[in-house]
């Protein structure tokens, strides 16, 4: 009984939330600054995630996010609410990122040095144990290693994997933001995973000093 009640209440609360947001948008469109500030507060984390997922440069992210909200504010009166506000906002964010990359002619970060044997085996330990490193230093190093591997991927693969797996965007959201078919997003994500693992395996092969599990997988 309780389960069915919660099943009914969930879509209602979601609908209420959606209506509340539409009301906020209407108020912001009529020039209510407090309503717009509330919209920023509600979406800033996801926009930050989205922008940092694409740019990967912490120093640029804040500037671009500010620019996104400025653009949204300026063009809010033209927004007709046919799509969800979040979808419209995320599309503007993605376009702003691509504009930024084009204008700045930013080249992807390139790590000249490859991973050391020790680093590879540590990373393999993380993957095979399926638990994140415990100490903050190990966590930071593991993130750095992952970042290096991600840089070897094509930009589109990297963006999709980060937005889906790290920043928590759903396949549906990604399809709307990137204006792609849902199935296409799924296929691209699956292939991006294969590509990431290929980069990962290449590093394992390059290192003769590996833990037994990695060697076993390599032989398969």
């Amino acid at each position: 009984m309780a389960a069915s009640a919660s099943a009914i209440s969930l879509p209602v609360s979601r609908r209420e939330k959606g209506e509340e947001e539409r009301q906020l948008v209407r108020l912001a469109q009529s020039g209510e600054e407090a309503a717009f500030e509330e919209l920023i507060r509600r979406h800033q984390q996801r926009v930050f995630g989205l922008v940092s997922g694409i740019l990967r440069r912490r120093e640029d992210v804040e500037d671009v996010v500010q620019q996104v909200f400025l653009k949204v504010f300026v063009s809010l009166k033209r927004f007709d609410q046919r799509a969800a506000f979040s979808t419209w906002l995320y599309k503007i964010s993605v376009n702003e990122c691509w504009d930024y990359l084009r204008k700045k002619k930013v080249r992807p970060l390139v790590y000249e040095a490859d991973l050391s044997e020790e680093q590879v085996s540590r990373l393999d330990g993380v993957v095979s144990a399926d638990r994140p490193p415990q100490s903050p230093m190990d966590r930071a190093e593991a993130r750095d290693l992952l970042e290096r591997m991600m840089e070897k991927l094509p930009q589109q693969d990297r963006e999709l994997l980060i937005l889906k797996e790290v920043e928590g965007f759903s396949v549906q959201e990604l399809a709307e933001i990137l204006e792609l078919n849902v199935n296409t997003v799924k296929v691209r994500l699956f292939r991006a995973r294969a590509r990431l693992m290929e980069v990962y395996r290449r590093r394992l092969k390059a290192s003769p000093d590996q833990p037994p599990e990695a060697r076993k997988r390599k032989d398969q």
């Binding site: 984390q45 996010v65 909200f69 990373l123 993957v127 994997l161 799924k186 296929v187 990431l196 693992m197």
Partner: protein, 165 residues
């Protein structure tokens, strides 16, 4: 089993989307049953799914971007207000400023045209004057052969002149 050459994945291309769903437990009903049946016979798809699971573990290392905090929205609003203020300031004076620039540009062009015309006219006048002087030279400077050299020549010239009259 078909090999995807571009990505070197061993998965069958028609099952890739379903495998992605399976990874997140989003596959249900008949699709899940169909994939399970396929996985029993397709080692390529099984291997690809195992790799996808490992990739998800690997990606768990990364941390999502932290919330910028409540100060961020204040900062954005301050920037918006500043931009709007700047825009308003611009909108009041902009027509006058652009009109003034147009006047200045037109005046500059007119001045250049006038100065160049004046210079041209002046040089033409000088040329004309020098031509005039050159043409009148024979009139002003008497012929050396007709200049009297003695008092007798003067008297003779006077007699000739009077005789001519």
């Amino acid at each position: 089993m078909s090999m995807n050459a571009e990505y070197r994945t061993t998965a069958c291309s028609q099952y890739e989307a379903a495998l992605e769903d399976q990874l997140h437990g989003d596959l249900g009903g008949s699709e899940a049953a169909e994939l399970a049946k396929h996985l029993k016979t397709c080692s390529g798809c099984r291997a690809a799914l195992d790799e996808a699971v490992l990739s998800a573990r690997l990606l768990r290392i990364a941390e999502p971007t932290a919330d910028p905090g409540p100060g961020f929205s204040h900062m954005v609003m301050a920037r918006i207000r500043a931009e709007l203020h700047l825009h308003e300031g611009r909108s009041i004076w902009q027509p006058f400023v652009s009109l003034a620039w147009r006047f200045a540009a037109t005046a500059a062009v007119a001045l250049v045209v006038l100065v160049s015309f004046d210079i041209g006219r002046h040089s033409q006048l000088q040329q004309d004057q020098s031509l005039l002087v050159t043409n009148r030279l024979p009139e002003l400077i008497p012929d050396q052969s007709s200049v009297p050299t003695s008092s007798d020549d003067v008297l003779l010239m006077m007699a000739e002149t009077n005789h001519g009259k």
